[in-house]
């Protein structure tokens, strides 16, 4: 199999220094990650903040050494052959305002093209073409310090695509972008992949829809471990025999979701407070189980405000694997 990315028992442990108030400790960011991404694949890493996605990208892009295990990108070992990996990759991190503010958009991009050995004429042509695509042609000569966060992010995305890498890493590329800009980015990513079957793209996101829409395969990652890896359709098929309800109710009055999970036929329940109400996502073995849920809620004087039956989503797959929602997982990771 022609692999663009291959990891084997990849692990990363951060050693955190102690101080007067806290003892030194170790933080396991990744444990035994085994991953194969085929050439030409748009592969998604889906998980909450703190799951280990960015750590994995840092290792694959040669910024961080693994604690143990093997990681190869474009056939080269990232730890021992970083100089062979770097000409073949590029990366874009979302949600940050990096860039040389004193340079114009064109100058920022042209300079990076020089680092990658792209002739000036070709670089200028590509810059124009890509800025047209992201609808930033009119800002080509604007200093990047004068750009909004969203436009800076778009410039950063252009920087990633400008070098036309064999393997591109997009770390939360739509973080902080508005809906329209996010859609632009997703469409562009899809088109870029379709234009050449040799391109490989690894995308990390915690937006379920993004992973579902874009990715050929998705690995769900939490607590530094890959919990499942398959096509979005196959992952959701695991829940095909289940029924899923989204229920909006009045505040839970102290009722714990675990109490609902103890009911017969109820597989998983995730809970989120929302503007004086609560939203319950229920994964049930069969429709009949809904009756006992309703009984328990009404018995606690909890009113049902809205009830929807829906198809399984990747969020449900995550809940089924982890036991709680992505947001709850993020809260746990943040302590």
């Amino acid at each position: 199999m022609d692999l663009a990315i291959h990891t084997e028992k990849l692990a990363r442990v951060y050693k955190l220094r102690g101080n007067k108030k806290e003892a030194a400790k170790e933080l396991v960011a990744l444990r035994d990650i085994n991953l194969d991404v085929r050439r030409g694949e748009l592969f998604g890493l889906l998980g909450p903040n703190g799951a280990g996605k960015t750590t994995l990208i840092k290792i694959l892009t040669t910024l961080l050494a693994p604690s143990s295990g093997v990681a190869r990108v474009a056939g080269y070992d990232v730890a021992s052959e970083p100089e062979k990996v770097r000409p073949r990759i590029n990366m874009v991190s979302g949600g940050e305002s990096s860039g040389y503010g004193l340079l114009t958009v064109r100058e920022n991009l042209w300079m990076f093209a020089q680092f990658y050995g792209i002739p000036s004429k070709l670089a200028n042509e590509r810059i124009k073409q890509l800025l047209d695509i992201v609808r930033m042609s009119d800002r080509m000569n604007t200093k990047s310090s004068d750009l909004s966060t969203g436009l800076r992010q778009k410039m950063n995305i252009v920087r990633g695509f400008l070098t036309d890498p064999e393997v591109l890493f997009l770390d939360e590329p739509t973080l902080g972008l508005d809906v329209e800009a996010s859609l632009d980015v997703r469409n562009f990513v899809r088109g870029w992949m379709e234009a050449n079957p040799d391109r490989t793209l690894l995308l990390t996101t915690h937006y379920m829809v993004e992973a579902d829409e874009l990715c050929d395969r998705v690995a769900i990652i939490n607590g530094g471990q890959v919990l499942a890896c398959d096509t979005p359709a196959n992952l959701k098929r695991q829940l095909q025999s289940d029924v899923i309800y989204r229920m909006e109710v009045s505040p839970l009055n102290g009722l714990q979701p675990e109490a609902l999970e103890a009911l017969g036929g109820v597989r998983k329940v995730s809970h989120e407070a929302q503007d004086g109400a609560a939203v319950l996502e229920l994964i049930l073995a069969e429709d009949d189980a809904l009756g006992s849920v309703v009984n328990m809620l009404t018995g606690k004087d909890i009113h049902i405000l809205n009830l929807q039956k829906r198809e399984p989503s990747l969020e449900d797959v995550f809940v089924n694997l982890v036991g709680h929602s992505m947001k709850e997982a993020e809260s746990d990771a943040n302590g």
Binding site: T62, P87, V134, R159
Partner: protein, 295 residues
Amino acid sequence: MQATQGIGKPAKERGVSGRTFRAAAWLGWQIESNWADPLIFFIYSVIKPLSGAAILVVMYSVITNGAFDDPMFAYIYLGNAFYIYVAAVLTGVSWTVIDDREIYRMLKYIYIAPVHVPVYLLGRGFAKFAFGSLAVFITIAAGVYFLNVPLDLSLVNWPLFAVSLTLGIVMLAMMGLVLGSVMLLIVNNANFMGEAVAGALYLFSGAVFPLSILPGWLQPVGYIIPISYWLELLRRSVVGQVAESFPTFSQFSDIQLLAILAGLTALFTILGFVVFRYCDHQAREKGYLDRYSNF
């Protein structure tokens, strides 16, 4: 949106250092010169070095009652003028790590590009060298025209000056590489390091007073600092008679001093790349390449 056609070929290995240096020097030049309009930038470029020299001149005048004809004045003035290179090149190369990691947050993108990072740092330092040269020229010209610093262009030993200056700049760049490499491993307070090192070297390198003035037990510090030999060679080449008035290095001929400077430059060149290799490895181990302190 539509995607572009075609896939890029990996960057050519040949010429990596050359293109890295050129692009880094271009970036450094833009950063140094682009923050103001050209007129303000020109005024700043003239006033800044003159202000630095003026502080020294006023202090000297008060202490010596205006003895500007004393060889000591030329010694101090020229030492101070050439020391501008130390601050510009040494801290210019090393500060790039802080600049790119903390301020522009671009170090990680530079790192994953097919560039030679040490060459990139040296390229960024080159722009500082260019601006430093302008400042040195302005400072010396002001000293000659307004303060009677005894510099006669027909008496300057130009070959010695050119070789000494070149060796010294390479040495300072390599010292900057050592410092910059260490900064890769310091997340907090790394921004003070460059100035602290340049300040410490200022005291012990014979920039503003001959090493013989230092207490005996401190003089060896001056003798192990390469900058001491470099400044002595520059003074000898530019105003030989002033250098002869201070016997600190009188036991060495010009050739011997050049040999010492060349040896130390070679040592720091090797040291620069060895230390970088070690610190680069450690920084990747510890995950410091994109760690921000938000200082």
